[in-house]
């Protein structure tokens, strides 16, 4: 069954452990700048908003990608960026309304996006306050999902 992330920003404490584990999982180092989930902080108000790919029904990132590097799995909805094709033009980054596409400068400069860690997302494992959940798509209309609209 297709799964999606449910984000409750009110529970997010801004610890950024998700960014640390994500970059470790994908790059083998602690490097938040290449994390595929990002926690946007408002340190003045003390709020935090996790930003991650929402597997949109109509993906503007796919539409704007001229080399055709971005595709979506029909079953799971997971977005994949083919790094052999990606030219690093950043159109997808600018167009994504949820600031969910990142950029990896090294080694060749490509766009990066959440790949769900093959169905077992690492970020969810380290989110102790429970701001991040990985749930069945069928239940994703639940109120917690709607909380993602409360931007930091």
């Amino acid at each position: 069954m297709a799964k999606v992330f449910s984000i409750d920003a009110k529970k997010c404490t801004g610890c950024k452990l998700c960014e640390l584990i994500c970059s470790f999982h994908h790059n083998g180092v602690f490097k938040p700048s290449v994390s595929r989930i990002r926690v946007k902080l408002n340190t003045r108000e003390g709020t935090a908003q996790p930003l991650i790919c929402r597997q949109c029904k109509k993906c503007t990132c796919i539409e704007v990608c001229r080399p055709g590097a971005i595709s979506q799995d029909e079953k799971t909805g997971v977005i994949t960026i083919d790094h052999a094709k990606c030219t690093g033009c950043k159109e997808c980054i600018f167009t994504c309304p949820f600031q969910a596409v990142g950029f990896e400068e090294e080694p060749k400069g490509v766009a990066i996006v959440c790949d769900h860690c093959g169905g077992k997302p690492e970020c969810v494992k380290v989110c102790f306050p429970g701001a991040l959940k990985y749930i069945d798509k069928e239940t994703s209309w639940a109120p917690t999902r709607q909380d993602t609209t409360s931007r930091a």
């Binding site: 009110k10 529970k11 404490t13 801004g14 610890c15 950024k16 452990l17 640390l20 584990i21 970059s23 470790f24 790059n27 083998g28 180092v29 602690f30 490097k31 938040p32 700048s33 902080l41 340190t43 003045r44 108000e45 003390g46 709020t47 935090a48 400068e105 494992k125 380290v126 102790f128 306050p129 429970g130």
Partner: protein
Amino acid sequence: MSFDACGYTGKLLRVDLSSGKISVEPLNMAWARQYIGCQGLGVRYLFEELAPGIDPLGPESKIVLLTGPLTGTIAPCSPKYTLIFKSPLTNILYDSTSGGYFGAELKYAGYDGLIIEGKSPKPVYLLIRDQRVELQDAARIWGKDTFTATDMLKQWWGDDLRVTVIGLAGENQVRFASVLTEYAKANGRAGGGAVFGAKNLKAIAVKGSGSVSVANPEALVELSLKLMAETLVENPEQLVFTGWKGGEGTISIMDWANDYGCLPTRNFQAGSFDRKSKIDAREVKKITKKEKACFSCPMGCAHQVKIEQGQHKGTGVGSFEYESIAMLGSNCDISDLAVVAKLNELCNKHGMDTITAGNVIGWAMDCFERGLLTEKDTNGLPLRFGNNEAAIELLEKIARREGIGALLAEGVARASARVGKGSEEFAMHVKGLEIPAYDPRVAIGMGLAYATAPPGAAHTRAFPISGALFGGWWVGADPVKLDPRKPENFAQVCIQQNHWQAYRFSTGHCDFGLLEPGWKLPELLENCTGWPEIKDWRKIGERIINTYRLFSIREGISRKDDTLPAAFFKKPLPAPAEGAVISPEDFEFMLNEYYELRGWDHEGRPTQEKLRELGIQELGLKIGVR
């Protein structure tokens, strides 16, 4: 990356403000192996680089800002970076630690730390964006409060820039000015902000896009996740501080402090506060908007509060903590939580240490009530205990050094020396640093902890009070029986805790880091650095404490300074700890035992034998220890 640099970037930025020259130099890895990072390494650097007797506010003083090897890694509760400087309050070193996000960001920019020297001819701020490091003209943010200055820097250079900045108090060289980072966290104590101000340095802003590598990443991740799960999922009752679990954060301390009678009240005249229920954890909960964490911390102990009604509507504090509430609240006899929040906000806004601020205001009120300060001295300000408006106005005056504020901006030691007439007896400080929010008469070993803490009265160097009162927080080894009012055994407990705390504060780890499994800290460090010998916390801690001491001795500190304010020896506390006082004999007993167990002589000087054991005999020779 070389093996040696695991957990470190291996690079240090040196900024000479006088000439504007910025250079990158290798971190002294031999010292890093001996002293780790943060506190320990900073003390070692300044022992080497500061000439004896220099003016902390002069151009020859230096600021060292260092992270630890764990900073920026996934090791739980390890966001810390430390500012090390010669304190304008004490004329000896202070190492002031802050959490938040700045430390990790600096490391991602590629630096373990900075050394700032000289004095800029005009106000500047340091902007670090990976390899691009520049001194920028600070004319437009000089004179602005910390919140506004941070806003402006973020507007200019990006929202995700991490900023640490001084306010009016730092610019005016108030001796207890702090450096505030990201609106909420601070390098609070002992006047680092004044040193910034004296150097015409308004702020440091950093953005980093790099990474931190460690020696055994898989093992570090596995151990970190295990520790987090063990503590947070399987042992939640340990986590009284974990906000999102319903924990109350540091303000939970107020309950037991009040019950046992060690909650400073009316400038330490009493140890419990009759209106405590108006400023305790339940009340703080009501105004809490959000429980927040620092970088890499799964606990999240900070409370973001906001006042939503009344005269002080709109007042907000990013991290509302026990120490601040006790010192600005009960110690000044103030029981309106909105006013306490307002005072805390003012401290943040102007960049002042909340502990010293509360201590100084309490002392000034005490003087006023005793007639040692009159309305003539205070420009008509009726500085009675519990006068909310007066306290608020006084803080504004201190930040601006106006009228009576100029006197109090000097700290309680200098102010009382000037006022005289016996006010020195209730000027609550050790070595010039104001006493924080635990009255040591209730557990006399806490007095020894204050008297012997390397930088002056700090509560984070040894904390035998909890061990004495309820057997909690024992550090290693076999527990020793402690009677709160008897001097036996306190020396060895203080020493052991000194070593553990010096070690912990040199790694990037937080004081509250996963309280019990904090014992795995040496293991985390070994996985991080790949150095087996880094697990020997006793030896490294002892080396740091002795180096700290050697620096102090070079500045003239000796046994005479390892003491407490007269009030703790002379004035017994009222109920609930009725009659509690520290007898000079008990204190001497503890101090003698402390020196003896440390291998120090009667004057508190490390012996050459002890220094040889710690591998730092050449430091002793430099200052003439035989």
